[in-house]
Amino acid sequence: MMHGSSDRARLWIRVFAAPILLAAATVTGLLAALLWGTVGQYVAWVTVGAPVAVVAGVWVSHLTQKT
Protein backbone atom coordinates (compact mmCIF):
# COMPACT_ATOMS: atom_id res chain seq x y z
CA MET A 1 0.00 0.00 0.00
CA MET A 2 2.77 2.36 1.03
CA HIS A 3 4.71 1.39 -2.05
CA GLY A 4 1.68 2.06 -4.29
CA SER A 5 1.00 5.49 -2.84
CA SER A 6 4.63 6.59 -3.14
CA ASP A 7 4.66 5.42 -6.76
CA ARG A 8 1.53 7.42 -7.35
CA ALA A 9 3.07 10.51 -5.72
CA ARG A 10 6.18 10.12 -7.88
CA LEU A 11 4.00 9.81 -10.97
CA TRP A 12 1.96 12.85 -9.95
CA ILE A 13 5.14 14.88 -9.49
CA ARG A 14 6.45 13.68 -12.88
CA VAL A 15 3.25 14.81 -14.59
CA PHE A 16 2.71 18.09 -12.79
CA ALA A 17 6.21 19.26 -11.76
CA ALA A 18 6.97 21.11 -14.99
CA PRO A 19 3.50 22.72 -15.33
CA ILE A 20 3.59 23.85 -11.68
CA LEU A 21 7.08 25.32 -12.07
CA LEU A 22 6.01 27.17 -15.22
CA ALA A 23 2.84 28.45 -13.54
CA ALA A 24 4.85 29.67 -10.53
CA ALA A 25 7.37 31.35 -12.86
CA THR A 26 4.57 33.06 -14.79
CA VAL A 27 2.86 34.40 -11.67
CA THR A 28 6.21 35.56 -10.24
CA GLY A 29 6.98 37.42 -13.46
CA LEU A 30 3.55 39.01 -13.70
CA LEU A 31 3.90 40.39 -10.17
CA ALA A 32 7.61 41.23 -10.48
CA ALA A 33 7.06 43.76 -13.26
CA LEU A 34 4.36 45.40 -11.17
CA LEU A 35 6.30 45.47 -7.89
CA TRP A 36 10.03 45.63 -8.64
CA GLY A 37 10.38 48.32 -11.31
CA THR A 38 12.99 47.82 -14.02
CA VAL A 39 14.55 44.71 -12.43
CA GLY A 40 11.07 43.22 -12.21
CA GLN A 41 10.58 43.85 -15.93
CA TYR A 42 13.67 41.79 -16.74
CA VAL A 43 12.42 39.01 -14.44
CA ALA A 44 9.03 39.13 -16.18
CA TRP A 45 10.54 38.83 -19.66
CA VAL A 46 12.29 35.59 -18.64
CA THR A 47 9.59 34.01 -16.48
CA VAL A 48 6.43 35.01 -18.38
CA GLY A 49 8.25 34.14 -21.59
CA ALA A 50 9.20 30.67 -20.28
CA PRO A 51 5.99 28.91 -21.49
CA VAL A 52 6.50 30.41 -24.97
CA ALA A 53 10.10 29.17 -24.94
CA VAL A 54 8.99 25.65 -23.90
CA VAL A 55 6.42 25.43 -26.72
CA ALA A 56 8.93 26.83 -29.23
CA GLY A 57 11.55 24.33 -28.02
CA VAL A 58 9.18 21.36 -28.34
CA TRP A 59 8.07 22.53 -31.79
CA VAL A 60 11.67 22.88 -33.02
CA SER A 61 12.66 19.50 -31.57
CA HIS A 62 9.54 17.89 -33.13
CA LEU A 63 10.45 19.37 -36.52
CA THR A 64 14.09 18.26 -36.16
CA GLN A 65 13.07 14.70 -35.28
CA LYS A 66 10.84 14.52 -38.34
CA THR A 67 13.60 15.59 -40.75
Binding site: L11, P19, A33, L34, Q41, P51, V54, V58, H62
Partner: protein
Protein backbone atom coordinates in the same frame (compact mmCIF):
# COMPACT_ATOMS: atom_id res chain seq x y z
CA UNK B 1 -9.23 8.85 -11.16
CA UNK B 2 -12.24 6.75 -12.09
CA UNK B 3 -13.47 6.62 -15.69
CA UNK B 4 -16.80 8.09 -14.58
CA UNK B 5 -15.09 11.06 -12.90
CA UNK B 6 -13.01 11.63 -16.03
CA UNK B 7 -16.18 11.57 -18.12
CA UNK B 8 -17.83 14.14 -15.85
CA UNK B 9 -14.85 16.52 -16.02
CA UNK B 10 -14.67 15.95 -19.76
CA UNK B 11 -18.32 17.00 -20.15
CA UNK B 12 -17.62 20.13 -18.07
CA UNK B 13 -14.48 20.91 -20.10
CA UNK B 14 -16.18 20.29 -23.45
CA UNK B 15 -19.28 22.36 -22.85
CA UNK B 16 -17.73 25.29 -21.00
CA UNK B 17 -15.18 25.52 -23.83
CA UNK B 18 -17.67 25.09 -26.67
CA UNK B 19 -20.13 27.61 -25.25
CA UNK B 20 -17.46 30.27 -24.99
CA UNK B 21 -15.31 29.33 -28.02
CA UNK B 22 -16.66 31.87 -30.49
CA UNK B 23 -16.44 34.75 -28.01
CA UNK B 24 -13.02 33.71 -26.74
CA UNK B 25 -11.74 33.67 -30.30
CA UNK B 26 -13.20 37.16 -30.76
CA UNK B 27 -11.51 38.32 -27.52
CA UNK B 28 -8.16 36.76 -28.46
CA UNK B 29 -8.23 38.09 -32.03
CA UNK B 30 -9.22 41.63 -31.01
CA UNK B 31 -6.90 41.49 -27.99
CA UNK B 32 -3.88 40.87 -30.21
CA UNK B 33 -3.85 44.31 -31.94
CA UNK B 34 -4.95 45.98 -28.69
CA UNK B 35 -1.65 44.91 -27.07
CA UNK B 36 0.06 47.22 -29.58
CA UNK B 37 -2.62 49.91 -29.83
CA UNK B 38 -0.17 52.74 -29.00
CA UNK B 39 2.18 51.59 -31.75
CA UNK B 40 -0.65 51.03 -34.26
CA UNK B 41 -2.22 54.43 -33.49
CA UNK B 42 1.19 56.05 -34.03
CA UNK B 43 1.71 54.16 -37.28
CA UNK B 44 -1.71 55.14 -38.61
CA UNK B 45 -1.33 58.76 -37.50
CA UNK B 46 -3.98 58.65 -34.75
CA UNK B 47 -1.59 59.34 -31.86
CA UNK B 48 -1.18 63.06 -31.11
CA UNK B 49 2.46 64.10 -30.65
CA UNK B 50 3.51 66.98 -28.39
CA UNK B 51 5.29 69.93 -29.99
CA UNK B 52 9.04 70.30 -29.45
CA UNK B 53 9.82 72.96 -26.84
CA UNK B 54 13.26 73.78 -25.50
CA UNK B 55 12.73 73.77 -21.71
CA UNK B 56 9.70 76.03 -21.90
CA UNK B 57 7.36 76.39 -18.94
CA UNK B 58 4.01 74.62 -19.28
CA UNK B 59 0.91 76.69 -19.93
CA UNK B 60 -1.44 77.20 -17.02
CA UNK B 61 -4.08 74.51 -16.84
CA UNK B 62 -6.85 77.06 -17.02
CA UNK B 63 -5.52 78.16 -20.41
CA UNK B 64 -5.61 74.54 -21.60
CA UNK B 65 -9.15 74.14 -20.21
CA UNK B 66 -10.25 77.32 -22.02
CA UNK B 67 -8.67 76.02 -25.24
CA UNK B 68 -10.58 72.74 -24.82
CA UNK B 69 -13.89 74.58 -24.40
CA UNK B 70 -13.10 76.81 -27.40
CA UNK B 71 -12.41 73.70 -29.48
CA UNK B 72 -15.86 72.31 -28.67
CA UNK B 73 -18.32 75.24 -28.48
CA UNK B 74 -21.54 74.69 -26.54
CA UNK B 75 -20.19 71.67 -24.67
CA UNK B 76 -18.79 71.32 -21.15
CA UNK B 77 -15.59 69.87 -19.70
CA UNK B 78 -15.98 66.54 -17.94
CA UNK B 79 -12.39 65.52 -17.25
CA UNK B 80 -8.83 66.66 -17.75
CA UNK B 81 -6.22 63.90 -17.64
CA UNK B 82 -2.49 63.26 -17.95
CA UNK B 83 -0.77 60.17 -19.28
CA UNK B 84 2.31 59.48 -17.13
CA UNK B 85 4.21 58.37 -20.23
CA UNK B 86 3.30 61.53 -22.19
CA UNK B 87 3.98 64.47 -19.87
CA UNK B 88 3.87 66.94 -22.77
CA UNK B 89 0.20 66.25 -23.47
CA UNK B 90 -2.98 67.23 -21.57
CA UNK B 91 -6.18 65.42 -22.54
CA UNK B 92 -9.58 67.08 -22.24
CA UNK B 93 -12.93 65.26 -22.28
CA UNK B 94 -15.91 67.36 -23.40
CA UNK B 95 -19.55 66.29 -23.51
CA UNK B 96 -23.03 67.74 -23.98
CA UNK B 97 -23.57 67.75 -20.18
CA UNK B 98 -21.41 67.07 -17.11
CA UNK B 99 -23.14 63.70 -16.66
CA UNK B 100 -23.19 62.93 -20.41
CA UNK B 101 -22.76 59.31 -21.50
CA UNK B 102 -19.14 58.17 -22.01
CA UNK B 103 -19.91 57.24 -25.63
CA UNK B 104 -20.87 60.88 -26.34
CA UNK B 105 -17.64 62.29 -24.94
CA UNK B 106 -15.00 63.79 -27.22
CA UNK B 107 -11.39 63.46 -26.15
CA UNK B 108 -8.83 65.89 -27.50
CA UNK B 109 -5.12 66.23 -26.83
CA UNK B 110 -3.53 69.63 -26.15
CA UNK B 111 0.11 70.59 -25.98
CA UNK B 112 1.01 71.12 -22.32
CA UNK B 113 3.26 74.12 -23.17
CA UNK B 114 1.54 75.96 -26.00
CA UNK B 115 -2.00 74.69 -25.19
CA UNK B 116 -2.43 74.14 -28.92
CA UNK B 117 -4.91 71.48 -30.04
CA UNK B 118 -2.92 68.40 -31.14
CA UNK B 119 -5.83 66.30 -32.32
CA UNK B 120 -8.52 63.86 -31.24
CA UNK B 121 -7.73 60.87 -29.03
CA UNK B 122 -9.29 57.39 -29.14
CA UNK B 123 -10.45 57.51 -32.74
CA UNK B 124 -9.56 55.40 -35.77
CA UNK B 125 -9.76 51.67 -36.40
CA UNK B 126 -8.47 50.74 -32.95
CA UNK B 127 -11.63 52.21 -31.40
CA UNK B 128 -13.71 49.65 -33.34
CA UNK B 129 -11.39 46.86 -32.18
CA UNK B 130 -11.63 48.11 -28.59
CA UNK B 131 -15.44 48.25 -28.69
CA UNK B 132 -15.58 44.72 -30.10
CA UNK B 133 -13.24 43.53 -27.36
CA UNK B 134 -14.98 45.23 -24.44
CA UNK B 135 -18.70 45.06 -25.20
CA UNK B 136 -19.28 44.05 -28.86
CA UNK B 137 -21.12 47.39 -29.31
CA UNK B 138 -23.78 46.17 -26.86
CA UNK B 139 -22.99 48.49 -23.92
CA UNK B 140 -23.13 47.22 -20.35
CA UNK B 141 -25.06 44.09 -21.34
CA UNK B 142 -22.29 43.19 -23.80
CA UNK B 143 -19.65 43.72 -21.12
CA UNK B 144 -21.42 41.50 -18.61
CA UNK B 145 -22.00 38.83 -21.26
CA UNK B 146 -18.30 38.77 -22.15
CA UNK B 147 -17.56 38.62 -18.41
CA UNK B 148 -19.74 35.50 -18.20
CA UNK B 149 -17.82 34.01 -21.14
CA UNK B 150 -14.61 34.77 -19.22
CA UNK B 151 -15.97 32.83 -16.24
CA UNK B 152 -16.71 29.86 -18.51
CA UNK B 153 -13.16 30.15 -19.84
CA UNK B 154 -11.84 29.91 -16.26
CA UNK B 155 -13.95 26.78 -15.62
CA UNK B 156 -12.69 25.30 -18.91
CA UNK B 157 -9.09 25.95 -17.82
CA UNK B 158 -9.57 24.36 -14.38
CA UNK B 159 -11.34 21.32 -15.86
CA UNK B 160 -8.57 21.09 -18.47
CA UNK B 161 -5.97 20.91 -15.70
CA UNK B 162 -7.95 18.14 -13.98
CA UNK B 163 -8.09 16.20 -17.27
CA UNK B 164 -4.39 16.73 -17.91
CA UNK B 165 -3.56 14.00 -15.36
CA UNK B 166 -5.48 11.04 -16.85
CA UNK B 167 -4.47 11.94 -20.39
CA UNK B 168 -0.76 12.46 -19.86
CA UNK B 169 0.21 10.30 -16.88
CA UNK B 170 1.70 7.65 -19.14
CA UNK B 171 3.67 10.18 -21.16
CA UNK B 172 6.76 12.25 -20.47
CA UNK B 173 6.16 15.98 -20.16
CA UNK B 174 5.90 17.71 -23.54
CA UNK B 175 5.54 14.49 -25.50
CA UNK B 176 4.10 14.96 -28.98
CA UNK B 177 3.36 11.45 -30.14
CA UNK B 178 4.54 10.72 -33.65
CA UNK B 179 1.42 8.89 -34.77
CA UNK B 180 -0.26 8.88 -38.17
CA UNK B 181 -3.42 10.18 -36.47
CA UNK B 182 -3.59 13.96 -36.75
CA UNK B 183 -6.10 13.95 -33.88
CA UNK B 184 -3.59 12.40 -31.45
CA UNK B 185 -0.92 14.94 -32.43
CA UNK B 186 -3.32 17.83 -31.92
CA UNK B 187 -4.48 16.34 -28.62
CA UNK B 188 -0.84 16.37 -27.44
CA UNK B 189 -0.31 19.95 -28.64
CA UNK B 190 -3.61 21.00 -27.04
CA UNK B 191 -2.57 19.46 -23.71
CA UNK B 192 0.96 20.85 -23.81
CA UNK B 193 0.12 24.42 -24.83
CA UNK B 194 -2.90 24.47 -22.53
CA UNK B 195 -0.97 23.35 -19.45
CA UNK B 196 2.09 25.58 -19.92
CA UNK B 197 -0.01 28.71 -20.47
CA UNK B 198 -2.50 27.91 -17.72
CA UNK B 199 -1.37 30.57 -15.22
CA UNK B 200 -1.22 33.35 -17.82
CA UNK B 201 -4.60 32.39 -19.31
CA UNK B 202 -6.24 32.29 -15.88
CA UNK B 203 -4.77 35.66 -14.85
CA UNK B 204 -5.70 37.37 -18.12
CA UNK B 205 -9.13 35.69 -18.21
CA UNK B 206 -10.08 36.52 -14.63
CA UNK B 207 -8.73 40.08 -14.74
CA UNK B 208 -10.79 40.53 -17.91
CA UNK B 209 -13.85 39.37 -15.99
CA UNK B 210 -13.09 41.85 -13.20
CA UNK B 211 -12.81 44.62 -15.80
CA UNK B 212 -16.32 43.87 -17.07
CA UNK B 213 -17.60 44.71 -13.59
CA UNK B 214 -15.91 48.15 -13.57
CA UNK B 215 -19.11 50.15 -13.93
CA UNK B 216 -20.89 48.13 -11.25
CA UNK B 217 -17.96 48.73 -8.90
CA UNK B 218 -17.96 52.44 -9.66
CA UNK B 219 -21.69 52.59 -8.98
CA UNK B 220 -21.12 50.86 -5.65
CA UNK B 221 -18.30 53.31 -4.78
CA UNK B 222 -20.48 56.28 -5.68
CA UNK B 223 -23.41 54.95 -3.65
CA UNK B 224 -21.29 54.30 -0.54
CA UNK B 225 -17.84 55.95 -0.25
CA UNK B 226 -18.45 58.98 -2.47
CA UNK B 227 -21.89 59.52 -0.95
CA UNK B 228 -20.36 59.60 2.53
CA UNK B 229 -17.58 61.97 1.35
CA UNK B 230 -20.08 64.50 -0.02
CA UNK B 231 -22.75 64.01 2.69
CA UNK B 232 -21.65 67.10 4.69
CA UNK B 233 -22.29 69.21 1.56
CA UNK B 234 -25.76 67.85 0.82
CA UNK B 235 -28.12 70.49 -0.53
CA UNK B 236 -25.34 72.80 -1.68
CA UNK B 237 -26.09 74.09 -5.20
CA UNK B 238 -23.74 73.46 -8.12
CA UNK B 239 -20.95 76.08 -8.19
CA UNK B 240 -21.79 79.29 -10.09
CA UNK B 241 -18.14 80.11 -10.79
CA UNK B 242 -15.61 77.30 -10.91
CA UNK B 243 -12.29 77.62 -9.09
CA UNK B 244 -9.22 77.95 -11.31
CA UNK B 245 -7.98 74.54 -12.42
CA UNK B 246 -4.40 75.47 -11.43
CA UNK B 247 -5.56 76.26 -7.89
CA UNK B 248 -7.47 72.94 -7.76
CA UNK B 249 -4.35 71.01 -8.80
CA UNK B 250 -2.14 72.85 -6.28
CA UNK B 251 -4.58 72.12 -3.43
CA UNK B 252 -4.91 68.45 -4.47
CA UNK B 253 -1.10 68.03 -4.50
CA UNK B 254 -0.92 69.53 -1.01
CA UNK B 255 -3.49 67.03 0.21
CA UNK B 256 -1.60 64.08 -1.32
CA UNK B 257 2.13 64.83 -0.96
CA UNK B 258 4.42 62.93 -3.30
CA UNK B 259 1.60 62.14 -5.71
CA UNK B 260 0.67 63.67 -9.03
CA UNK B 261 -2.71 64.21 -10.64
CA UNK B 262 -3.88 61.43 -12.98
CA UNK B 263 -7.16 63.11 -13.85
CA UNK B 264 -9.59 65.72 -12.61
CA UNK B 265 -13.35 65.18 -12.71
CA UNK B 266 -15.41 68.34 -12.99
CA UNK B 267 -18.44 68.96 -10.72
CA UNK B 268 -21.52 66.99 -11.79
CA UNK B 269 -19.61 64.25 -13.61
CA UNK B 270 -20.06 60.58 -12.68
CA UNK B 271 -16.84 60.55 -10.60
CA UNK B 272 -17.80 63.30 -8.17
CA UNK B 273 -20.68 65.34 -6.70
CA UNK B 274 -22.48 68.25 -8.36
CA UNK B 275 -20.52 70.67 -6.13
CA UNK B 276 -16.99 69.22 -6.12
CA UNK B 277 -14.00 68.66 -8.29
CA UNK B 278 -12.41 65.27 -7.74
CA UNK B 279 -8.67 64.99 -8.34
CA UNK B 280 -7.51 61.37 -8.71
CA UNK B 281 -3.91 61.19 -7.57
CA UNK B 282 -1.31 58.55 -8.45
CA UNK B 283 2.10 57.55 -7.12
CA UNK B 284 5.29 57.19 -9.11
CA UNK B 285 6.11 53.48 -8.89
CA UNK B 286 4.76 50.81 -11.25
CA UNK B 287 2.26 49.74 -8.58
CA UNK B 288 1.32 53.06 -6.96
CA UNK B 289 0.88 54.67 -10.38
CA UNK B 290 -2.10 52.31 -10.78
CA UNK B 291 -3.63 52.86 -7.35
CA UNK B 292 -5.54 56.14 -7.51
CA UNK B 293 -6.46 58.22 -4.50
CA UNK B 294 -9.43 60.58 -4.86
CA UNK B 295 -9.24 64.08 -3.36
CA UNK B 296 -12.51 65.97 -3.23
CA UNK B 297 -12.26 69.75 -3.64
CA UNK B 298 -14.86 72.50 -3.35
CA UNK B 299 -15.97 73.54 -6.86
CA UNK B 300 -15.93 77.28 -6.08
CA UNK B 301 -12.97 77.68 -3.71
CA UNK B 302 -10.80 74.66 -4.54
CA UNK B 303 -10.49 73.85 -0.81
CA UNK B 304 -9.95 70.20 0.03
CA UNK B 305 -13.18 68.66 1.32
CA UNK B 306 -12.03 65.06 1.80
CA UNK B 307 -9.40 62.56 0.68
CA UNK B 308 -9.41 58.84 1.23
CA UNK B 309 -8.07 55.69 -0.37
CA UNK B 310 -10.26 53.73 -2.76
CA UNK B 311 -11.98 50.63 -1.34
CA UNK B 312 -10.39 47.22 -1.92
CA UNK B 313 -12.64 46.28 -4.85
CA UNK B 314 -11.66 49.37 -6.85
CA UNK B 315 -8.01 48.84 -5.95
CA UNK B 316 -8.39 45.24 -7.20
CA UNK B 317 -9.93 46.59 -10.41
CA UNK B 318 -7.06 49.06 -10.93
CA UNK B 319 -4.41 46.39 -10.29
CA UNK B 320 -6.23 43.94 -12.56
CA UNK B 321 -5.96 46.29 -15.54
CA UNK B 322 -2.21 46.04 -16.23
CA UNK B 323 -2.37 42.29 -15.58
CA UNK B 324 -4.98 42.08 -18.33
CA UNK B 325 -3.41 44.53 -20.80
CA UNK B 326 0.24 43.46 -20.40
CA UNK B 327 1.34 47.06 -20.90
CA UNK B 328 3.57 47.39 -17.83
CA UNK B 329 6.76 45.58 -18.83
CA UNK B 330 8.00 47.32 -21.95
CA UNK B 331 7.94 46.08 -25.55
CA UNK B 332 9.42 42.61 -24.77
CA UNK B 333 6.51 41.85 -22.41
CA UNK B 334 4.06 43.03 -25.07
CA UNK B 335 5.64 40.63 -27.57
CA UNK B 336 5.43 37.79 -25.02
CA UNK B 337 1.78 38.75 -24.35
CA UNK B 338 1.10 38.54 -28.10
CA UNK B 339 2.79 35.12 -28.32
CA UNK B 340 0.75 33.83 -25.38
CA UNK B 341 -2.40 35.23 -26.96
CA UNK B 342 -1.48 33.38 -30.17
CA UNK B 343 -0.92 30.17 -28.21
CA UNK B 344 -4.33 30.59 -26.57
CA UNK B 345 -5.90 30.89 -30.04
CA UNK B 346 -4.18 27.59 -30.94
CA UNK B 347 -5.53 25.92 -27.77
CA UNK B 348 -9.08 27.14 -28.51
CA UNK B 349 -8.86 26.19 -32.18
CA UNK B 350 -7.36 22.76 -31.49
CA UNK B 351 -10.01 22.11 -28.83
CA UNK B 352 -12.73 22.81 -31.38
CA UNK B 353 -10.96 20.58 -33.92
CA UNK B 354 -10.65 17.72 -31.37
CA UNK B 355 -14.35 17.96 -30.57
CA UNK B 356 -15.32 17.89 -34.26
CA UNK B 357 -12.91 15.03 -34.98
CA UNK B 358 -14.34 13.02 -32.09
CA UNK B 359 -17.90 13.59 -33.32
CA UNK B 360 -16.93 12.50 -36.83
CA UNK B 361 -15.27 9.38 -35.47
CA UNK B 362 -18.22 8.59 -33.21
CA UNK B 363 -20.98 9.17 -35.72
CA UNK B 364 -20.91 5.88 -37.71
CA UNK B 365 -20.77 3.51 -34.77
CA UNK B 366 -23.16 5.48 -32.59
CA UNK B 367 -21.13 4.54 -29.57
CA UNK B 368 -19.31 6.77 -27.11
CA UNK B 369 -15.77 7.07 -28.36
CA UNK B 370 -14.73 8.95 -25.27
CA UNK B 371 -15.39 5.87 -23.22
CA UNK B 372 -13.14 3.95 -25.60
CA UNK B 373 -10.26 6.35 -25.32
CA UNK B 374 -10.74 7.28 -21.66
CA UNK B 375 -7.81 6.20 -19.56
CA UNK B 376 -8.13 3.33 -17.13
CA UNK B 377 -9.07 4.22 -13.58
CA UNK B 378 -6.18 4.57 -11.21
Amino acid sequence: MKARTVRLWSVIHTWTSLTSTLFLLLLCLTGLPLIFHHEIDELLGYAPRPEAHASAAPATLQVVADAALAADPGRVLQYVSWDKDEPGIVMAFTNSAPDGAPDNATVRAFDAVSSRLLGPVGVGPMLIVLKLHTDMFAGQAGKLFLGAMGMLFAVAIVSGVVLYWPFTRRLRFATIRDRPSRRVRWLDWHNLIGVVTVAWALVVGLTGVVNTWAELMLSQWKATELASMVAPYAGKPPPVHLASLDHVVACAKQAAPGMEVAFIAFPGTPFTSSHHFAAFMRGDTALTARLLKPVLLDGETGEVADARALPFYLQALLISQPLHFGDYGGTPLKLIWAALDGLTIIVIGSGLYLWLARRRKRAPAGSDSFARRAPASS
